[in-house]
Symmetry: D3
Subunit: 233 residues, 6 copies
């Protein structure tokens, strides 16, 4: 089964990080089509970056379904263009924020999310609210680092992340942690080991849900909201 | 991978219906441990039935994990005893209502749920609210039939169900339908064909999510809420 | 008028504490039927304890109504099995959490709740939300003590409780305090005196509401949700 | 025990109706101080009527507490000036809407409210929301009659009310009915008999809760929100 | 004062309709810069259309601010790219949905919205919820017509719209109507006359709010959420 | 265009402060009718003060509309009697809290409010909730000063206010600040300069919105909720 893993920004090394995280958990027979959106900004840090990433992302999705992709994973924690993606796709489309939150509410009663920049906090809070997890999500926290620092200064980023996990455990009563950026995927295991808390990475969560949904034969409803975009004139 | 599929009531034929629905979608290598709670009422129709079913269900879960079950599916749409089950289990525990709702919000923007008895409507509405899908769930409907009529008068039950799906499409603007009772599992495909709407059965949804979560190595957080029950004095 | 005061756990000394708290406030002519659920865990600390307590509690309720009880008070702050109890009872059933919250929103605009173990915090938060007091309840706090410590180490427990009341006043702007465990009933007066805040004990609140509701002739609605459990087959 | 029953409008016959409803349910030893607000409009039908009624109502409350009233019942379903009343009163202040709703959620899982004029519907909906009963209250309905028609054309008013109760049962799935106007108090028993639904009148509910709260010794918290009005310069 | 009025689709005649609506209400001294997004779809009917319109819209905004625009109005009722627009703009950015809703809650206690296609209903419902008007907005309705039919078959569109206004008054208890598409602007006055209900067009509402906000000297906060997009690498 | 600016308390110097704030931003041709409610308390600090201010305020509004006022601004941050004012007025009525919040959500994604006394905090929180800004408003803070201290000890009041703005920025992640008292209007500019945060004063916000709404020809809906008060028998 082919699953599209699309990184909505244009940094190929982040696509590779996500692909490796996915490969560690896929079922036998799953093939990951990892794609970068070459027309997008190098990282998604705010609404304007999102807006500039989405049109190219929609084309990537259409192309991948033409290649046989049965489900799509959007590998950016803002879930940018999720509704639009569902309109252009036949298969299920899974945002990593929505997936990580669905897993978090299954494994715990209260969790916190840790993201990169403070400006992403309200964006993620609004997603949490939109996904109906306002009661279960104790707090959206930030380590105050740009996305690309995760790659450029991985040890400093890791240290700040680990400290924030411990603060979330102590102050929020968090029973699990959700990593609020696709670029944090490979720190997941080490964080879990060093903090003792379950740590959920959205890429892993979304890839497994994509396998599950495609495996069950589910397809995006084409009734009303996610119907194919109307062909004009 | 072994997955426990526990029917919280004591009607073995309903367990078998759920098991067959599960077998149609499991991945290669998944083994379904289908269990009936022999000490429970014959059907779960209200809070008191739930209460009387749960203690036996907890024992079934402990026994199945001792046999190697990696995840648990609760096959009753009230998700009875979900918190208690998560306390006694090491692996993820998936209620069919929570699973079906998670799938429904991924495939559609608005859905309706159809259950058996009117008295179950407020119970399911409260679950929807608890799971944060109040905006996406248009309406919880009932066909006003006891649970066991699904087995005893399947054609009449099917006809009422199909009619209600069509009403939900027309009046609620439902873009997908969730079946609000484990006993409806085998009507799912036919409903989809005859109504043209995506129809989501919780057993299928939950079994696939259970495979996904166990496959990713997720386990129930033992921090605070779902920690093992305290051993007293 | 007979009122059932059922302690859902099996520790008779806690039943006695609750009974004494009730006796201090009952109207002339009220008779308290204090009952312990002998088949239940010794304390209710989490969902599994609740689940194991409820079936026996339902039998106690049926027996007490047969003896003439006109209303029932559930003396555990998790309000375990409240819906089930309402199904099997003819008279009103009052959970001490729901009662204390109803009193708290009448006497104050903002209150905090203080319970025993951290694992009970999310359970009580969900009750607060379910009862619609999310805006008025500032915070659910815990003193991080097992329930039975209230009896075994009463002075230490009292000191922690008093300190937490003062923190709630200072940090939460709490205008009243709700005690989040039936076992705290007898500390209520002293806390009020030493902190200057109104302190609401759920047993007292619930017993008075039970007298009021039974005195007005109210009975549980048998339409739909709380109809008698269906008799099967 | 003296309890103030204040009718915030200036129609003495409505005060008498409320007083008689109260007398049917009071405990031995309860004395009802029934008071009319002579400076108020003849009926409360909208926000401006409320605003013009409240200042006089506050004086009535102060006078009644000076006479020894231990608790106050506001006998208008808009609960006008409830916060202000709590500021000027030492004893508990109970609005009939808040009381009726607290009783309704104890006796049923879903209820509807029926009031007089359509313009009162959004006012009551906002109260329901403020009191946190948005999920339990199915619908606020009106019979489209001015308040005083309840006295002037009682049979016509009764017939419209009874029909609306039946519509609420059928269309809303209401398990109980709350009467949304103090002037409907004496129709309560007959409605219950003729429709088979529990019908809750706010005056009865509030008087019994007032007895309960005063009987337990509860007083309005004077910390912050409901502190005595500040004495200015 | 220059105000940008940007039509996010590429149909110049719709821009002209909006411009004329604006000109009827502007204050002396206000200059409307009406702009069409030439790279966008011909109409915005769903999430994918929105996504494809926004990048070009952001460029239009930057260009207009360079020309001296002091505030921006987004003339599409989905408020597409509102957050992104606020990031790239110095002046206030006003979506016509947010503006119309702000006006509606000031003039009435309950209103309904009427849009074009059914697929836009959930999009607008989510906006209403995001803007916190869920209680005041009774219902989002559609006349089931494509956007461009407003121009191509104006009489048929008008008739369907007028009928839907009357249904909203009768069934929803709507006290005001919000037009849910920029293309309906010129039908506003006639609808008001023929139905007797206040009818709010978002273009008019937003242009007046834009004048007000710019006139008061308000500018978009550049702290955190709407800070300028980060310049990468 | 005449706009009524009514100060609901009886302190004329506060009316003058508000008038001067308004004059700094009005459009050419706007005339401010500044009125004091002579029968009201000297300041509005709690519900009882509000209740005593409103009847006189309604008369001021009626008189000003008779003089030709086209819109009304209520210059007290509790928005006292807003519904009643809308019933007696033909033109739009704008509360300074509602206006400031509407501006705040347009300029920022997250803001905090700073008011005078702690007892006003829950009142304002309830307004925020009623206006649907619960997600955007991070926190309602108080400087713990009586309203009249703003005039009597302006430097001390200013210093406390500035400190609280900085705390809101640091701890709440506030992107803008709303001043929670009409008496703070003239400190607005200095606060903005010294803290670097956008600071929104409700008087300015409301006066500009009043100009906008009256300028567009909007009038209060007289359908249902805000219909003229009923004339009684």
């Amino acid at each position: 089964m082919k699953i599209l893993l699309v990184n909505p920004n244009s940094t190929a090394s982040m696509t590779e990080t996500a692909r490796l995280a996915a490969l560690r958990v896929v079922a036998p027979g799953t093939e990951i089509l990892a794609r970068t959106v070459s027309t997008a900004p190098v990282s998604i840090e705010g609404h304007a970056d999102e807006a500039r990433a989405v049109p190219g992302m929609l084309e990537v999705i259409c192309a991948a379904e033409a290649e046989g992709a049965r489900a799509t994973v959007l590998a950016c924690f803002d879930d940018p263009g999720l509704g639009a993606a569902r309109e252009v796709a036949a298969g299920p489309v899974i945002g990593i924020a929505q997936a990580a939150i669905q897993v978090a509410v299954t494994l715990s009663a209260r969790f916190s999310i840790i993201t990169t920049l403070p400006r992403s906090v309200p964006i993620i809070e609004d997603l949490v609210d939109h996904y109906g997890a306002g009661r279960q999500c104790r707090k959206v926290r930030s380590v105050d680092l740009p996305v690309l620092d995760l790659e450029e200064h991985p040890e400093r980023a890791y240290a700040k992340l680990r400290d924030e996990v411990l603060v979330a455990a102590r102050e929020d009563g968090a029973e699990a942690i959700v990593l609020g950026c696709a670029g944090m995927a490979e720190m997941c295991g080490r964080l879990e080991e060093e903090t003792g808390l379950p740590v959920i990475d959205g890429v892993v969560a979304a890839v497994k849900l994509a396998e599950a949904l495609a495996g069950a034969g589910y397809r995006t409803s084409k009734v009303s909201s996610y119907a194919w975009p109307r062909v004009k004139g």
